[in-house]
């Protein structure tokens, strides 16, 4: 111990660190230490958590439209304790907003902004704005549905500002549309511009605070003087631990922070901001049409201006609450408004069954994206995970392109043209039903392909039918081949051979319902080897790109097995 002390003595001799420490710690606190003073220090503690976890996230995060989601997924699911680091960063951000509000309320209620502390109040308002900016820029970075759509709303609001709106929006977005430049700009703001501003403002804020000292409540006995260290610092430290425990606890509870499905501009995602901006979101609901700008810009702007000018609005002599009805009352009304609007926003959404259904669908997509991502993300980006997933994208493509004519399992759009019902398409059972009754409504009854002769059990016994149906569905057998040669080859092709009777142009059936066959059908159903002149099915090569066509092919392949 004495050796350590001697070492410290030597360091102090060369640096004077003890003087600096004494300067920092021995600050007198008139009226004594108080729990009410902990919020400022707690914010510094949370800021430390944010800087440390934020730098960690930076070491893995990749700000590009193709890579951002994947890198966040990697942090959340693969990097050692990545979920904890990201979860702490996410939830400490919430803690920061809460503690910041508490700090602001404490200062306002104590009247601590009054002369000579007006400048420090302004710095505080600056810190509030920067923190809100950090929150806003932060949740775009994962490039997931929530961040993408919620930030769209924010930048669109910026676009409605009179006169400068157009340019403002473009500058924020980094171009005409959302993309990598949006991410890189938000990233630069989030990890560079805003934290640097925050630290500079904070240094000035603390300097001015030390210059003026604490502002005890009017009722305090200022003849009693406490010290910052250890009386106040111990309380401050306790508050910091509460924040840390909250961040860690929430991160453990949710195993990290939420990550929605990758951003998809073509989806119908229902955008909601993070909870601390919900009151602004709710406010917007009460202003429509030309009045909208009142909800988006005017009211929040006026509230911010009022808050900023509070030291000059509050002309009361003392700091006692009784003489300060207007400033304290306005703060109370403002706080109440924020709380009520937030509660209303949550309640509106909770009572909206359709919306809850959309949230549930979004969560299911997020879960599916998570499964797909664990097999690796294509270089084109995480958006392709779901876009190339037959299970996810297939039904959408089918609805978009096929349901105008085809049915599925007895269900059909009321206005649909009546082409075949594709439930079971590709299975032997489908073939069997068709052979018995090809002109039924579920097959070709309402198409120009109508006219294939039905095969009754007298012409084609069940055993033969089973064999030939299995043969067409891809299960080769001598009997199936023989029956096909006897009964089908007269009208159909098999590997380019057949139609011997010349009575009809039945389609090629070798490889029927295989990937190649379905692709061929989608690209050119009027090909002579398919439905020829009687074809009514459009060419789909012109209606979707090759990648999507493959997704649709894969989806049609799944129809052969019974669907739930």
């Amino acid at each position: 111990v004495t050796r350590f002390r001697r070492f410290l003595d030597a360091v102090d001799e060369r640096t004077g660190y003890r003087g600096l420490l004494a300067l920092a710690l021995d600050e007198p606190i008139p009226g004594g230490a108080r729990w009410a003073y902990v919020f400022g220090s707690a914010l510094v503690g949370v800021l430390a958590i944010q800087i440390v976890t934020g730098l960690c996230l930076m070491a893995v995060y990749s700000p590009s439209a193709a890579a951002a989601w994947g890198s966040v997924w990697w942090i959340e699911n693969r990097v050692t304790l990545g979920w904890l680091v990201r979860g702490m960063h996410h939830h400490a951000a919430s803690a920061m907003v809460v503690v910041l509000a508490a700090h602001l309320l404490q200062v306002a209620i104590y009247g601590a902004y009054k002369k000579p502390r007006e400048a420090n109040w302004l710095l505080g308002i600056g810190l509030l704005s920067v923190t809100m900016g950090l929150a806003l820029t932060g949740y775009l970075l994962p490039w997931d549905q929530k961040g993408f759509w919620a930030t769209q709303v924010a930048t669109s609001i910026a676009g409605t500002v009179p006169v400068i709106g157009r340019s403002l929006e473009r500058l924020l977005v980094g171009g005409a549309e959302y993309g990598t430049p949006t991410l890189t700009r938000f990233y630069a703001l989030h990890v560079g511009v805003l934290p640097a501003s925050l630290v500079l403002l904070l240094v000035a804020h603390v300097y001015l605070f030390r210059r003026h000292g604490v502002t005890p409540p009017a009722s305090a006995d200022v003849s009693k003087v406490g010290r910052f260290h250890p009386d106040q610092l111990l309380r401050d430290l306790a508050a910091v631990f509460v924040c840390l425990a909250f961040a860690v606890g929430m991160a453990v509870r949710g195993h990290g922070a939420p990550l929605d499905a990758p951003a998809d501009p073509s989806s119908d995602y229902a955008a909601r901001p993070d909870w601390y901006f919900l009151f602004l979101f709710q406010l917007l609901k009460y202003f429509d049409g030309p009045l909208e700008v009142v909800g988006t810009v005017v009211l929040p702007g006026l509230a911010m201006a009022w808050l900023t000018l509070l030291p000059w609005i509050d002309r009361a002599e003392g700091r006692a609450i009784r003489g300060r009805l207007v400033p304290v009352g306005s703060i109370a009304v403002g706080t109440l408004a924020v709380v009520v609007l937030t509660v209303l926003a949550v309640r509106d959404d909770g009572g909206d069954a359709r919306l809850q259904e959309r949230f549930a669908r979004a969560n299911a997509l997020a879960a599916r994206a998570n499964v797909l991502a664990s097999r690796g993300i294509p270089p084109e980006g995480a958006q392709e995970l779901l876009a190339r997933d037959p299970q996810t994208r297939g039904p959408e493509l089918f609805a978009e392109h096929c349901e105008a004519c085809h049915g599925l399992g007895g269900w059909r759009r009321p206005e649909a043209k009546k082409a075949s019902d594709l439930a079971g398409f590709g299975s032997a059972a489908w073939v069997k039903a068709l052979v018995r009754d090809p002109n039924a409504e579920r097959f070709f009854g309402h198409t120009k392909l109508r006219g294939m002769e039905p095969f009754a059990p007298e012409d084609l016994p069940d055993g033969d039918l089973d064999a030939v149906a299995a043969h067409v569905a891809g299960e080769d057998s001598a009997r199936g081949r023989a029956v096909f040669q006897e009964k089908c080859i007269g009208c159909h092709l098999w590997n380019g051979q057949g139609r011997d009777l010349g009575l009809a142009d039945g389609p090629e059936l070798r490889g029927w319902a295989s990937r190649d066959w379905i692709r061929g059908q989608l690209l050119d159903a009027a090909h002579p080897s398919r439905y020829g002149v009687e074809n009514e099915m459009p060419r789909f090569g012109d209606r979707m790109d090759a990648g999507e066509l493959e997704v649709l092919v894969e989806f049609v392949r799944t129809l052969r097995s019974p669907q739930e």
């Binding site: 503690g45 430390a48 958590i49 440390v52 976890t53 960690c56 070491a59 893995v60 890579a67 994947g70 890198s71 997924w73 990697w74 693969r78 990097v79 050692t80 304790l81 990545g82 904890l84 680091v85 702490m88 010290r227 260290h229 250890p230 009386d231 610092l233 111990l234 430290l237 910091v240 631990f241 840390l244 860690v248 991502a373 097999r375 690796g376 993300i377 294509p378 270089p379």
Partner: protein, 168 residues
């Protein structure tokens, strides 16, 4: 208990508390930042790099190698992953990684063999170290010939050490 005693006790609590805060924060950070130590790379399989009949006898030929890559979260089916020198003798092909075993520069062809342009390691036509700082011979790679195609198993080895140790 005097006021000074109380002050010194609370001061110690503050000191330890601050230390605990730092330690609690440092623990996940340490795990997080050392993650690469616990991660391994996926060995690449045999990839075609040339046609046998396109390789001239006895002349070293440089080929680039494409392979499937797992780059953290990205899975790329075919990316350029490195280069190799091929030498055909009869119907046999020998291959060496173009990565210099010294410090990883790209080894070039030179009179009667290979040389690294960075620190002047010189290797013979058989890949053996002749002079310069390289601690070992050039790294030979597995080659198979299937149906006239030259297939290569590309491996990266640790640099700067005498032994040959694959980076896994």
């Amino acid at each position: 208990v005097t006021a000074d005693d109380r002050r010194s006790f609370l001061g110690r609590v503050v000191l330890w508390g601050t230390g605990a805060f730092g330690a609690l924060l440092a623990m996940p950070v340490a795990g997080y930042l050392t993650d690469p130590l616990r991660r391994s790379s996926v060995a690449s399989g045999l990839t075609p790099v040339a046609r046998l009949d396109a390789l001239a006898q006895g002349v070293a030929t440089r080929v680039s190698v494409r392979g499937a890559v797992r780059d953290a979260w990205t899975r790329a089916p075919a990316r350029l992953i490195g280069a190799a020198w091929l030498l055909r003798t009869g119907n046999d092909v020998q291959a060496w990684s173009a990565v210099c075993p010294h410090l990883g520069c790209a080894v070039d062809h030179a009179d009667g063999g290979f040389a690294c342009p960075c620190h002047d390691s010189v290797f013979g036509a058989d890949g053996r170290r002749r002079s310069g700082p390289s601690p070992r011979d050039m790294d030979a790679l597995d080659v198979e010939i299937q149906g006239g195609a030259v297939l290569l198993r590309y491996v990266r080895y640790r640099k700067g050490i005498a032994g040959r140790e694959a980076i896994g």
